[in-house]
């Protein structure tokens, strides 16, 4: 088996709105930068192209068909992985291991600002029989809306709960947070500290969009969205695109790239039954076990120098750190309190600012996290550089309402 290297990274700026650019140009910018970074010509040197996207975020059916031009993949092997961008890394790894592909490009992006009905699209991912009807959608007969409905044959209303107000689907995070706090005795203040730290880290990251100098008190006083989840516990959405180029070790040597290895990868999915599935991020536990085994990591706390974990909601960062084995159950809150997760702590966590500081970039989240790890391992992280970083871990969760996630481990050669 060949070792697989990251030979190129590229990304756009991350902004809450990007009205000046179309999504194709957005993807083009990230990919073009990654190809320039690798010093390769995509039309000649890249064997396979992977985009990670979800049709509903894009507004296209069969979005795969709309990607070749802007990623350099015209009339070349190209596919879309319906999932977080980090899954693209795993797929690229496997493609390279087949020996069929030497160089693979992976792209993921968010154009969240193009979505007018973000909450409704997310609600559409809920189980239609059991979960959507009690998630508060209002459905009223709309005779005018469709010519096929008349007063005699109105739109069917099975499962509708039209006497209730609508709820934003983020309430699921409120449910999980409630459970997590109770079970682990983690406090709301400890969660608030995650927001404070990540938003502060974002000041040292030029591409982050949600840097804030706030206190725990500010977070605690922000309004409840879905108790115990408060406004500042939630990462706001952001637009951004990220591209990675992975290659076999031989190719990386040939072009003289500084080798950063994708040394471990794992992924896992929970059952969609909300009542049955665990609320301890079991997907992250399983995914990390798989990745640790592959990367030969026996003691993550000793062998990993920095982590970027999913923090789309503050408690998620703590829950994920525990699931990944960096803290015992209910102990991650202590780590944020005692400074362990600071940039100069023993486990620097989300130095990029994470999703709370950079923004929630939908399917690009896992690649944004991987981007930070690779930037750190290269020693290019500027003010937020972690000294002597050798091995880093990026973990991503697919967001509400999913129970899926993946872990990638990168090592400096």
């Amino acid at each position: 088996m060949t070792r697989v290297c990251v030979i190129g990274i590229g990304h756009t700026d991350f902004n809450s709105m990007t009205p000046g650019m179309g999504w194709k140009e957005f993807m083009y910018e990230a990919c073009n930068k990654a190809y320039m970074d690798a010093g390769i010509d995509p039309r000649r040197d890249i064997d396979s192209f992977i985009t990670c996207a979800e049709d509903y975020w894009e507004g296209f059916s069969i979005f795969d068909e709309f990607v070749p031009d802007q990623i350099g993949a015209l009339l070349r092997p190209c596919c879309t992985v319906c999932g977080d961008g980090i899954y693209g890394l795993g797929n690229a790894y496997m493609q390279i291991q087949t020996g069929l592909m030497n160089v693979v490009s992976i792209e993921a992006h968010s154009k969240a600002s193009d979505l007018l009905t973000y909450g409704d699209i997310m609600l559409h991912a809920f189980d239609p029989i059991y979960d959507r009807p009690v998630s508060g959608p209002v459905q009223r007969p709309n005779y005018a809306g469709s010519p096929s409905y008349t007063e005699e044959s109105p739109k069917p209303l099975v499962g509708a709960s039209d006497e209730k107000e609508r709820i934003h689907p983020y309430f699921l995070a409120g449910l999980e947070m409630q459970h997590y706090l109770r079970k682990t005795k983690t406090t709301e203040e400890q969660c608030a500290m995650v927001a404070v730290q990540n938003k502060r880290n974002a000041f040292s990251n030029p591409y982050a969009d949600y840097e804030l100098n706030i206190s725990v008190d500010d977070v605690m006083k922000s309004e409840y969205c879905f108790s115990p989840l408060k406004n500042l516990d939630v990462s706001p959405t952001v637009d951004g695109a990220v591209c990675f180029v992975l290659a076999s070790e031989d190719f990386a040597r040939e072009i003289g790239a500084e080798p950063i290895y994708l040394s471990g990868f794992g992924w896992s999915s929970e059952t969609p039954w909300l009542s049955t599935r665990g609320m301890e991020a079991d997907y992250a536990k399983k995914a990390s076990k798989m990745a640790y085994k592959m990367a030969e990591i026996k003691q993550p706390t000793r062998q990993i120098d920095l982590v970027e974990v999913d923090d789309r909601f503050t408690y998620k960062q703590l829950q994920h750190l525990e699931a990944l084995g960096f803290a015992g159950e209910g102990q991650a809150g202590r780590l944020i309190e005692d400074g362990s997760l600071d940039i100069d702590g023993w486990l620097p966590t989300n130095p990029s600012g994470g999703s709370l500081g950079v923004g929630n970039c939908l399917e690009a989240t896992g690649l944004q996290k991987s981007l930070e790890i690779v930037t750190q391992l290269r020693g290019h992280a500027g003010k937020r550089q972690i000294a002597d970083a050798q091995t880093g871990l990026a973990q991503s969760w697919r967001g509400i309402p999913s129970g899926s996630g993946a872990v990638a481990i990168f090592t400096r050669g």
Binding site: M21, K24, D69, L74, L115, H124, Q139, P156
Partner: protein, 179 residues
């Protein structure tokens, strides 16, 4: 197998063969779940698409150059899919072209017959490279007249009705001699 209208159909007792009808759905005689998603998007278009659509508003078809590939591309895009370089150099193209391919379309999306079939096809715009143009309707011609290679010209909406959309062109009509 076609059944004659008045022929009495007999089914075995154990399989009455009753079809599910629309009224069964409305009367909830069958088990089902209903959902209609609320999905709305407002795509930012970026410089290339935007300028093209602005051009349509002014009654112009704009193309863009890829100097490296020596192509005149329409509709314009910010980058060239062949060489992966940026495109630049805008050019105003005539609103004429030739029919590259077409179809006389008889069915609506629910597969009902359309009384007056719709003529739709792809137009190669004059002044752009071969196979560069867009899809549109054809008008002022019959389904028997339309043919591949036919010269056509855009019929524009009145200026005050144009909104920066591909439908600012109503359809393409035959470009007859002398026009």
């Amino acid at each position: 197998m076609e059944q004659k209208k008045d022929e009495k159909v007999t089914y075995p007792k154990y399989a009455p063969g009753t079809h599910v009808s629309t009224s069964d759905i409305y009367q909830k005689n069958i088990t089902y779940s209903w959902w209609e998603p609320e999905v709305q998007y407002a795509w930012s278009l970026g410089p290339a698409y935007s300028r093209f659509l602005e051009g349509l508003k002014e009654g112009k078809i704009l193309g863009i150059h890829c100097h490296k590939c020596k192509r005149v591309i329409v509709p314009p895009r910010s980058f060239c899919e062949y060489c992966y370089g940026p495109t630049d150099g805008w050019i105003e193209l005539p609103d004429t072209g030739i029919i590259e391919t077409y179809s006389v379309s008889y069915l609506d999306p629910d597969a009902n017959r359309i009384e007056e079939p719709i003529l739709i096809g792809v137009i190669d715009i004059d002044g752009a490279d071969e196979h560069h143009g867009f899809m549109h309707y054809f008008g002022e011609m019959s389904k028997d007249e339309i043919k591949i290679g036919m010269k056509v010209k855009a019929v524009w909406k009145p200026e005050d009705e144009r909104e920066g959309s591909i439908t600012d062109i109503k359809y393409f009509k035959p470009l007859r001699g002398g026009e």
